[in-house]
Symmetry: D2
Amino acid sequence: MQKLSTAILGASGYVGGELARLLLGHPHFELKFATSENFAGKLISKVHPNLRGATNLKFCKISEVEKVDVIFSCLPHGSLAPRISEIEKLAPKIIDSSADFRFENPEDFEKWYGHSHPAPEKLEEWVYGLPELHREEIKKFSKIAVPGCTATAAILSTAPLVKAGVIDSSKIIFDLKVASSGSGNKPNAGSHHPERAGVLRSFKLAGHRHTGETVQELKLKNVPGYSITSTPVVRGIVCHAHAFLNSEISDKEVWKIYREFYSDAPFIRIVKEAGGIHQLPEPKILSGTNFCDVGWILDENSKSIIAVSAIDNLGKGAAGASIQCANLVCEFEEKAGLEFLGLHPV
Amino acid sequence: MQKLSTAILGASGYVGGELARLLLGHPHFELKFATSENFAGKLISKVHPNLRGATNLKFCKISEVEKVDVIFSCLPHGSLAPRISEIEKLAPKIIDSSADFRFENPEDFEKWYGHSHPAPEKLEEWVYGLPELHREEIKKFSKIAVPGCTATAAILSTAPLVKAGVIDSSKIIFDLKVASSGSGNKPNAGSHHPERAGVLRSFKLAGHRHTGETVQELKLKNVPGYSITSTPVVRGIVCHAHAFLNSEISDKEVWKIYREFYSDAPFIRIVKEAGGIHQLPEPKILSGTNFCDVGWILDENSKSIIAVSAIDNLGKGAAGASIQCANLVCEFEEKAGLEFLGLHPV
Amino acid sequence: MQKLSTAILGASGYVGGELARLLLGHPHFELKFATSENFAGKLISKVHPNLRGATNLKFCKISEVEKVDVIFSCLPHGSLAPRISEIEKLAPKIIDSSADFRFENPEDFEKWYGHSHPAPEKLEEWVYGLPELHREEIKKFSKIAVPGCTATAAILSTAPLVKAGVIDSSKIIFDLKVASSGSGNKPNAGSHHPERAGVLRSFKLAGHRHTGETVQELKLKNVPGYSITSTPVVRGIVCHAHAFLNSEISDKEVWKIYREFYSDAPFIRIVKEAGGIHQLPEPKILSGTNFCDVGWILDENSKSIIAVSAIDNLGKGAAGASIQCANLVCEFEEKAGLEFLGLHPV
Amino acid sequence: MQKLSTAILGASGYVGGELARLLLGHPHFELKFATSENFAGKLISKVHPNLRGATNLKFCKISEVEKVDVIFSCLPHGSLAPRISEIEKLAPKIIDSSADFRFENPEDFEKWYGHSHPAPEKLEEWVYGLPELHREEIKKFSKIAVPGCTATAAILSTAPLVKAGVIDSSKIIFDLKVASSGSGNKPNAGSHHPERAGVLRSFKLAGHRHTGETVQELKLKNVPGYSITSTPVVRGIVCHAHAFLNSEISDKEVWKIYREFYSDAPFIRIVKEAGGIHQLPEPKILSGTNFCDVGWILDENSKSIIAVSAIDNLGKGAAGASIQCANLVCEFEEKAGLEFLGLHPV
C-alpha cells in the first residue's frame, strides 16, 4: 500500500518534532513537508537532534507546501483559523493541535481566549479529537481539533464518573501537575534552568484556558476548579480530580464504570494496584507513548473520590493524539505507528 | 549568658541532622549529646557530611545521655511515648518531632495511627507546637509536640480563612506536593534513584495520618480531602488548599484576613505578586529556612479560593519548628538561630 | 517467517526489562521465557510497568525454561560461568550481558575481578560483542559477551584514533559521567533519592573493572586513567577521552579517521556541529536507543584531543547491544527491532 | 563597632544576589547600595526572592552610588576596567568578581579574552583573590580580583601537588563538571529547562578562558587540558584533575602534602574517607557555603593521581570568595559572615 503524504505546519516546535518522529516511523504515512519560517532550508534534525541520520528532510516555508493527503498543523494558537481557507486547499484532511477549532460555540472560545473567533462559521466542520469520547464522529470528519494536553488528562480522568452520575459534577477540583515541555521551546525567565529546576511552582491556579474545553466535553454546568503546578520534569502530566461522591459506592462498582467506559479504548490502561511502587498512573513511564493511564482512590473519610490520570503531554497530549486521530480519519488501525511502550526506568 | 545544654535523641536521621546543624549555629543552645544506637561512637559528621569540621561530637547511646536543659526528640513515631517517664528525667523541657503527643484526645490518635495511645494520661502536658496558632500556650508549656510537616503546610494555608468563616469548611481539599527527604533516610524500592527521579507519584491520596492533626487544629467538623504527590525534589512542600467560598469576597478582604491573622508571626510571609516568576509561595527557595510562605488565588469561575503555602519539610516542617518552639519555651528571641534566608537560585 | 524463540535469564533487573521491551517489539524474535527466582509466577509487567497491557508473560524459574533458539542472559556477574554447561543445553545461541566471558585471557579476568575464572576453557568459544570492532567474528560465533556499558563508551570513543596511531596510547584518560540505572535496581544508601538527586559524586576514580576490557579491546600497553562520576540522570553515559596527540593533525584528518572506521556501523553517528546547543554527543536524547554518538574537539593549546562518546547505558550499553549482536548471530538485519529514534526533549 | 558601608555594582545577577544575602547577614558590613540599571527603583527582593522580608533596599543606578568603604563589583566581564578610574573614586577598596584584573600580564589577558586590556597600567594594583595562595598579599592590597569559579576549583585541587613537584605539570588534565547557575541569569536556548534538564553536555572542551588564570596561578609551562561538562544541577562544581606521577608516592605522603599546604586555610577541608557514600568532595552539600573540599585517589595502574575539588560556584567560586577577600582586606576574621555549614540532604 502506498503511504499517504503528510505535511507538518509549524514543525520546529516540540509538538512538531514529536510528530515528525512518529511520522518517520509510521507504516502508512510519509512526511513530505515540515514547515518553519525561521528554519526554512535547514535540516529538521538540526532542531530535533533525535532525528539525526533518520531523515534528510529540510524545513520549508508554508508557501512551499504542495498538496498532500493529510496536514498536521502545529501552528501557535490563533494562527490557523485566520488562514484556514488557504490551508484547506492543501489537504483534504487537517489535524490541528492548537485551540483554534476545539469549541462548538464561538462564545465559549471568546470566554476563554479573550477575543472573538476569527472563523466561527467553520467550527461545525471540526470535531474534538478525543477518540475515547468521539471515536465514531472522528471517523466521519476530516478536520480534527486535538485537545489541549491538560484537558485530555482532566477529561479522561473523570468522564466515566460524570457519565455514571456518581459524583457531584458541580464541585470537581482538577489539580494538575505538569512538565516544562508543555510550555513550548521558547526560553523565558521562568524556563531558565536555574529557576525552573527543582521547582514546584503554582503556575496557573485559576482561569486556565483548558478549563473551557473540559467544561464542554464533560458537559459541566459549573466551572470546576482547575489548578496547574509546574514541576521539574520535562514530559508528563498527572491529574488529580477531586470529586465528592453523590452516595456511597464500592471500589468494585467504580472498576465497572471505568472498564465499561473505556472498553474499546486501546490507549487507556486502568492502573490501580494494591502494592508496589507503581500503584497509580505515573507519567514518567509514559514519555514517548500515547497511553493515558487512569486510576482512582476512594476516600471514605471525606466521602470523595480522587481520580488520577497520567499522560505524556507531547504524546497523548498532542502529537500522539494527532496520529491517533489521523489513523481513525484515514481508516488505519488506531494504534498504527503508536506502538512504543515507554521506558523504565527513565 | 551561658548556653543551655541540649541533647538530640535519634540524631542520625534527616531531622536530627538538621537540628544538629541549627543547634551548632544557635546563640543560646549548646549541643551536648546526639544519640544513635546504630552509630554510637562515630562522629556525627560521618552521617551528616555538612557538619564536617564544625564539630567533633560523636553519637552516643540514649543510655549515655546526661541531664540537659532541653531534649529534642527525633525518635521514630511510637518510640518516645512508651518511655516518656524515663526521658522526662533527663530534661525539664522536651521538644518532640514525632506524632506521639500531637493529639488532644487519645481517640483521635487511635483513629489515625491504628492503635491505642501508650500514655494517654500524659497528653494534657503537651501542646501542639505551631506558634502561629499557639504562641502563648507554648511559652507556658515545657513539652511541645511539633506538627507533622504536611500538617504545618495545610493548617497554615487555611487557618485564617477558616477562622474568618469565609470558606465552606466542610469541603476543603488539600492537595500537597512533597519531597523525598520527608520519607526519611532509609532506602527502599520507591526511593531508589532510578525510580524516584523525575517522578510525579500519587503517593497517598487518602487516609494520610497528618489529616488527623489538621482536623484538630482547624477544628473541622468534616474530614477534608488530603492528597500527597511525591515529586522529584529533595526538600520542600507546597500545599494547594482548594476551598469553596461561602460568599463573594474581594482580594483586598482576603489580604486583610491573612495580614491580621499572621501579624505577629515572624516566619510567615505573604507571597502574592502580580508579575514575575515568583508570584506565589514556592518551596525551592525555602530550603534550610524556617519560613512558611502563604498566598492565594481567588477563582471567580468556580467560586473558590486556592490557598497556597510552602515550607521546607525539614525546616518549618520539623527541625526549624523545633528550634522556634524551643526559643519560645526558653524565652529567647523567637527567631534566634533561624536567620538563614535561603538560597536563590538553588 | 516464524519468529525465533527466546528466553531472558535474570529478567527482573533493568537490563532484563529493557530486553523484554525490545523483544516484544522485535520483528523476528518472540519472548517465551523470562526468569526471576524472586518473582516467579508474577506478571513481568508488575516489575516493568511500561510493559502493562503489552504482554501477559509471567516470570518463571530458570529450571522451568524450555529449549529456545536464543538465550539472553542478564544474570549477575559470576552467575553464568559456573553453570554455563547447563545453560548451553537450553539454546544453541547465548548472548550474555555480564562480564563472565568478556576476556580472552583468564589472567586478565582474574586481575580485574579478583578471583580465578570458573570456566577458563570456555573463553575461546566466546567473542566480545562489539560489532563495531568484531562484526564478522560475531556473525560466526554463537556465544557473545556483550561489553560493559562504560567500556562500550570508552572503546568506541577512541578506537579510530588508536588504530590510526595519532594519539599517545600510553597516556589516555577516560573521564566518564554515568547515570543511576547503571548500578542496577537494588536500593542502597547511595541510591536513596535524597542522597543521589543532584549529585556529582566521584564514584570510582581508579580501578574500575571495565578498564580491563578497554585495555584488551584497544590493545593498550599501559592501563589508561579511567574515572567514573555519578550524575543525577537515570540513563546515559558520556565519555570524555583525553589523549595527547603524537603530532599535529587537522580536524579534517580526524573526520576522515572516524568516518572510515565507522563506515559500516549503523548505530554510530558522528556528532560534531559548529553551532547550536547540540554540538557534541549528549546521552539525554539517546534514552531507549541503540546509538553511540561520537565526536571530538582538538585542543591546540594542550596539543591534545578530547574524544566524546555518548550512549544509553541500558541501550547500546547493554540490552540494545544484546539485540544488535543477536541480529548478527541470527543473520537478521543489524538494526531489526532497534529503530527507536529517541525522544527530544525528554 | 560601626559596620563598614558597602555597595554591590551589578546586583541583579546571581553573584550579586548571593553577595547581597551574605552582606545582609554579615557582622561587620552593611549593604547600602545595590545597582542595576534595568531594575533601578525596584526592591532587590523582587529579583532575589529569598531576600523577601529581610531588606527594603531598592536597586539604584551606578550614578546614584555614594562613597562607601567597600565596593563589590559584579559587573559583566569587560565592564569594570574601562571605567575603573571613575569607580575608584567611590571606595578605597574594590573587590571584583569579573575577569578584568585577574592577570598579571596584559598579554595573557589578550590571549584568553581576545582583545587588548583596556587599562593595563592598573593591573599591578590588583592581586588575585585566592587567599589559599595569596593570603598575605591580599591583606596588603585594596583591590582584589576574585578568581573564576572553575579556576578556583582547578587551582585548589592541584596547587599542593604542583608545588611539591610530585606530578608531571606538563600533562595535567582538568575535567570539570559544572552547574547551570554558573552561566548567569539570562535565559537562552541552551538554558531552557526542557533542553537543560537531565543533560550531560560537553560544553567547552578546549579553550575555556579560565585556563589562562589556572596556568598563571599554578605557574605551568604547558597549557593543561581543561574541559567543562554542563550537568543538570543548579549550583556546584566538581573538578577532576588527572595528573601523571613523577615517581611512586604513598597515600600518606600525599596526605602530608595537602595538610601542610592548607594548614592555615579555614575553608579547605580534606575529604577522603574509606567508606560510606561521601568519600570524596561532592558539591551538593556545599551550596551556600564558602568551602572548597579537596581529596584525591592514587591510581597504581595508570601511575597517576586524580585530585578532586568541589565548590559552590556562587559561593567559594564567586560571592563567598569576595566576602572572604573583603574580610582579609578589612582585617576582619577570615570566616566572618561565612559560617553557613550547608544543607544535607538537599
